[in-house]
């Protein structure tokens, strides 16, 4: 039933498509990290309308499916004159979706910085940007890095969704290979195995990182 020769012959194609998956994951995560921080700032804004609107946006994005958002970005934006490649649309979709999760992570990290740190920095007459950059963020972010890592794995496992907006990442490649020979067992199983191996390795890495960060 399982054809090893076939499995070996399609391996290079799948590995190549896996690169796209990984590229999309990293670009998406980078975007999510930046946007997430901005959202976290906007939510803390003392100007009520900004924090309320940001809160509403975060809530909405978090509670609707990523797939629906991907379709929206890929099909609706061109109607407004913004043409996007599948990869760009996918990265934006992933980044936007996960930025809402990461903003909560940042928020938890920022809230965990003791009040005294704020007061000390204010007492020293530091400017607001200096308080954030050299006092608060260096203490807020390292403890939440493992949690961010978990979202990175989550995002990695969500990139197959980009196949729905015609990006030929690893799952889409497996489907194409499968439809050519009507042998779906090998390609799809191999994709599953690749995900299992990669996300297992990263979760072990995160566990190590967590243990290391906890030591201090």
């Amino acid at each position: 039933m399982w054809d090893w020769e076939y499995a070996f012959s399609i391996m290079p194609q799948l590995l190549k498509a896996l690169q796209i998956t990984i590229v999309a994951t990293f670009l998406g995560f980078l975007l999510a990290c930046v946007l997430g921080l901005l959202l976290a700032f906007a939510r803390r804004s003392t100007f009520k309308p900004i924090s309320l609107i940001t809160g509403g946006i975060v809530e909405f994005i978090r509670s609707t499916p990523l797939l629906a958002q991907l379709y929206f970005i890929f099909y609706v934006l061109p109607q407004c004159g913004i043409m996007l490649s599948p990869l760009a649309a996918g990265v934006i979709g992933l980044g936007l979706h996960y930025s809402t999760y990461l903003s909560e992570v940042y928020r938890a990290g920022i809230d965990a910085v003791p009040r005294g740190q704020w007061e000390a920095a204010t007492a020293l007459n530091f400017s607001l940007s200096r308080i954030w950059l050299s006092i608060i963020l260096p203490q807020a972010i390292p403890p939440v890095i493992p949690v961010m890592g978990n979202y990175l794995i989550g995002m990695f496992k969500d990139t197959p969704l980009l196949s729905a907006i015609t990006l030929v990442e690893v799952l889409q490649a497996a489907k194409i290979i499968g439809s050519r020979s009507f042998q779906y067992i090998e390609p799809i199983t191999m994709v599953g195995a690749m995900f299992l191996v990669l996300s297992y390795i990263s979760s072990v890495g995160i566990r190590r990182l967590e243990a290391r960060l906890n030591r201090w």
């Binding site: 809530e59 797939l67 379709y71 929206f72 496992k157 196949s163 799952l171 489907k175 779906y184």
Partner: protein, 215 residues
Amino acid sequence: MSPPLDLLPALLPGVVVTLQLTVFSSILALIIAFVVGFGRLSKYGPVRVVSSAYVEFFRGTSLLVQLFWAYFVLPHFGLELAAMHAGVLVLGLNYGAYGSEVVRSSILAVPKSQTEAGIALNMTPTQIMHRIILPQAFLTMLPPFGNLLIELLKGTALVSLITLGDLMFMGAQLRVTTLRTTEVFSLVLIIYFIIAYPLILGVRTLESKFSKGRA
């Protein structure tokens, strides 16, 4: 621009399918969460190994890959699943794996002294579990279970890719037939939000309710 309410009737059958999927697969996920969660705490080594492997497997591979596997590969092994069955099965198995971690960690979070007190009162292990550990662990479990339920609801959108006619699928089809892309996809997003939001509010109420008696 008036709201595209004329599109609603075409989407409603999809909403029904989405809700059905959510209900059935969350029931399955709940059952699996408890079975596997207890399995991981079992004193028998093999049971622990098997349930850990199950959790690692379903959490480690992508939900969409699992759906594709169930729908495209299982028929080659002579197991033909209807799209609905494949969807319920995979969603249940996948979120059950996440749920089992909730069950496990909540049980472990009950202080050890509670078990010791039970032993001191000469209760059987079953009694200790039923009367002392579970009632306390239950409260800790509820909010994370609520969050998982919301995740599951969002996860159901993926079944549209294995041709099951849920809300997302109906939306994609309606886009093709009416070409009113913006309206259709906005409506789909809003409907998902309307379904999810009461759940979110519920989870938040639970959370604040249970954190009150503690701390």
